[in-house]
Symmetry: C2
Subunit: 353 residues, 2 copies
């Protein structure tokens, strides 16, 4: 069995260690974060990315920040913790999981405000480690459900990176692919390179080599051509935020794939944990979309590829209307359209469990 990638881990000495994804696939370099600002920097600069991984990183970052606080009374402690939470909340705007991870740690801190400060700090470490463990279990469950949608012989097209690197381990969308492979299905993967940051070419390809699943890399613009030639049996993507009606924000280019799937009658699957659902949003129109720096497009690995100062639009995500989504694969099972009722029922049961 392929050893798990250590995307992010909490070390007993109070260090959050993460694999610097900006250096992949060339180098496997780990970064030791010693305070919340280190984690914030890593999230901001995409050293760790992928909605579920960001959620765990944010939660760990907040717990890590808690360890560094000098406050001796709980009111000051919580006040300072809130400042750290705000810092981490401002790193990236779109992925719901980031806010979910922060809220989870924050809620524990508030709930246990009667503990001594050392005990409270310890409780927050335990919660961060628990989040970590749950994410892996959640992804394996998602893979188990999702792989039932994949048939022997299928070629699956993926976008961005939804593998172990986008999570604590195993992956969401790529976890479904991996589960199908582990169930003995002879599948192939078409990997969208995913401009501008090339998460497909750099990260998904790297994971697929480790997993030994037959794959080919293509530019994002080739997806339509492969579908027209009947060479794609399913598209699986992840999600950065899902509204209550099933609208999905995900890596830019996802919406185009959904339209192509509709035109070619190819199923379009979204794989995401329930922590990606934003219970405050009725539709995807309200999802904040991050605009990233123009340099991500005008230069690659430091080499300029466009005229100096040429204007650029660089939305990092787009929103796919629920009507184009064939199914949403979660750790609790597969949701089919119309999604609104199923999502709300799952959210209610998740909260009550």
């Amino acid at each position: 069995m392929t050893p798990e990638i250590q995307t992010i881990v909490w070390l007993p000495e109070g260090i959050v260690r993460l694999l610097d994804q900006t250096r992949l696939p060339g180098e496997e370099v780990y970064i030791d974060c010693r305070d919340a600002e280190d984690v914030a920097e890593a999230i901001r600069n995409l050293r760790i990315r992928g909605a579920p991984a960001i959620g765990v990183a944010a939660g760990m970052g907040l717990s890590l920040g808690a360890q560094t606080l000098q406050a001796t009374d709980v009111t000051s402690f919580l006040h300072e913790l809130r400042t750290i939470k705000d810092l981490l909340a401002q790193t990236r705007p779109t992925a719901r999981n980031l806010f979910w991870g922060l809220e989870r740690i924050w809620t524990v801190a508030e709930k246990h405000r009667d503990l001594s400060i050392p005990a409270l700090k310890q409780r927050l470490v335990e919660e961060a480690v628990k989040m970590h463990q749950e994410d892996l279990a959640c992804n394996r469950a998602m893979g188990g459900h999702g792989q039932t949608l994949i048939k022997n012989g299928d070629t699956i097209l993926t976008h961005c990176n939804t593998g172990a690197l986008a999570t604590v381990g195993y992956g969401t969308g790529l976890g479904v692919v991996r589960a199908a492979w582990e169930h003995g299905k002879h599948i192939q993967v078409l990997v969208d390179e995913t401009r501008p940051v090339l998460q497909g070419a750099r990260l998904t390809a790297w994971e697929l080599v480790r997993l030994g699943i037959p794959s080919r890399l293509i530019t994002d613009s080739m997806a339509g051509d492969f579908m027209r030639r009947g060479e794609v049996q399913a598209v699986i993507v992840g999600a950065d935020r899902i509204a209550l009606n099933g609208d999905v924000a995900n890596k830019i280019g996802t919406y185009t794939l959904a339209v192509l799937c509709r035109h070619h009658n190819v199923p379009f699957y979204v794989a995401a944990p329930l922590s990606t659902v934003d219970p405050a949003l009725s539709t995807g129109d309200q999802i904040p979309i991050e605009e990233r720096p123009p340099e991500e497009i005008t230069s690659i690995a430091g080499v300029s590829i466009a005229p100096q100062g040429f204007p650029v639009a660089n939305p990092a995500f787009d929103v796919t209307p629920a009507g184009l989504v064939s199914a949403i694969i979660t750790e609790r099972g597969i949701l089919h359209p119309p999604f609104a009722e199923a999502i709300q029922a799952l959210c209610r049961s998740a909260h009550s469990s």
Copy 2:
């Protein structure tokens, strides 16, 4: 008025000078081709690209090759010229114009086989220069027709490079945009970067800076999102080969744009000279599609962006079925669907003129 770019010129001393497009936008470097092999190398390695420009380059390359022949009798001369024609014909497979340009020079050579060798050589130079002049006039005519489809205030999305650099001058698709701008229409351009070779980011952006037309660069994967938000009023692309039924082979990613246009009810226009029509092909299924080297995808500007040796698919073109094309803009006017009859009528009149 913006000075014309000298994409390719025939110099009186028997040199074909062309702008090396692989060095743009960083450097403006010209290459002097002294024999057919120099021209073949330039076409093969994309120093000159764009179907109409390739057509003229191939014609000039064959004329240039003719000048270097030592044969003293016309039979030997034509025999050796055919070898050069075969060399140039093997540089790239998809663009119809390449074969059209070669046939045009070859036909003149055969037709004038009664001339002395020096006179025949001179006749081939004249034909090459005539092709050059006609291409510019043809593109201006195309622009004049096509700009009537553009409304004041429109944002036009383009793919690849269809400007002066893709032709002798003025451009096809971008020529239509330029003509609309020169008619005083306040338009904007969204430039698809066009992976893998980045003709949009490197070449179209460079031309738009020169022309002063407001523009923004996007990744190919963003087109759908901009359409969904109602920010695209038309898509204009060029063509590498058009079948008699109106199916269009063009830069990879064109088909995806056509599907997106259909989904969003945005007009999808193809601008191309009649020399792009292949009278031997009834449908686009028979168009040979060039597979380019994997390194175009796995590295950018010499920097590796994917795991070493990862398998790649790199079709350079795709085929858009005629049913997704709103109109074909030619130098003889605008063709509307169904295209079959209009194309065949134009081809007949072009041959008889």
